[in-house]
């Protein structure tokens, strides 16, 4: 696949090739145009249609099933009033 300008034609080309237009990462439309950038398109799962909208709806539908049903649960955490020994957050 080749690099694509941020344009409707690039989206159409991607879709014609069975790819879904996903997004553009740009400096803004003007800047993007100036540098000839930028776009990401990615293939959808084979069960998905070739548009972002369809992908979203397929995915949402799929995600309403029993996905994750075998993730192991644990007893709920309790409140604590003693100083923490660790923290959890982004790292």
């Amino acid at each position: 696949m080749s690099g694509s300008p941020t344009s409707g034609s690039a989206r159409r080309t991607a879709r014609d090739k069975g790819l879904a237009w996903v997004s553009a990462i740009t400096l803004g439309a003007g800047a993007a145009s100036a540098i000839g950038a930028v776009a990401i398109a990615a293939a959808l799962p084979s069960t998905s249609a070739s548009s972002g909208t369809a992908a979203s709806s397929v995915s949402t539908s799929s995600n309403e099933d029993d996905s994750g049903s075998t993730l192991a649960a644990a007893p709920a955490p309790a409140t604590s009033n003693i100083p923490p020994v660790a923290t959890t957050g982004a790292s």
Partner: protein
Amino acid sequence: MSTTSIRTTSTSANSTLGQTMSEHLRWAEWNAIGTTIRLVVTDPTQLESARAMLTDDLAALDLACSRFRSDSELMRLEVRAGQPTTVSALLAGAVRAALRGAQLTDGLVDPTVGRAMETIGYDRDFASVPAQGGALRVTVSHIPQWRQIQLDDSANLLTVPAGVRLDLGATAKAWAADRSAEGIARVLDCGVLVSLGGDIAVAGEVPPGGWSIRVQDITGDPSTPAQGPSDLIAIREGGLATSSTSARRWHRGGDLLHHILDPRTGRPADSDWRTVSVAAGSALDANIASTAAIIRGKSATGWLARLGLPARLVAVNGAVTTLAGWPEVSS
């Protein structure tokens, strides 16, 4: 019981040991595998042994699974792209954990996003990723999908198609935390908490009051106040993990990017949540659920509630939602 964290010993420039909470809890903290490692044990006499075990575990993990080392088993595997290859039990285990995440989330947590991650700039240890950069020129490409990865469990035979680069980062740390906590507790016969960048696993003896952990946006020093909303909770078993778009962020052009990719789009998830924390039967499953929740966005609350996984979700505006038994103790 002491209410003050006491840093007692400094063993190297980037490693500290300490005593906290009670006379019987000791901790060590250092940096490895691109993140902060924290180890707590219930038997003070076992801290050094536990730390040695965890250090060895992490060195082996890095050598097997890093996508930032040309000498890692994962990267060397690429020369045999498309061919079944016998891999170490460690790499097979990490891949198995990643595929578990993909399967249980309908592919929302997908290890085949390695190339896409590189495309948006996360192509080296995060500390070396430039915080700022020009707009990206991105190539139209396929997200490979996890179903293309074949792992024969009985023989640790792994097949990765040509052109696919695995990123095990989403699940490998959590899986490793589970593995090390259980191994250390079993060998040293004490209670153990292992935190790998905030992916926390506990095993063995439970300290009085449980393992007290502060939940916040960014993993940090528990002896200093949290930035932003936080909860102080205690767990007695399993694991706790937090996924967040608040860290590992960088700019390219005018865009703020982060490390949680939506495999459906190949770009950073545009989530309603900035931080999701989940308690589960293991750190791995907690991590899978918290990562998937970020990518799911709004539908994550119903999903987590249906699964009965206690969770705390922080919206982009800072509003906190708790569910499935997570205590409502926000501060």
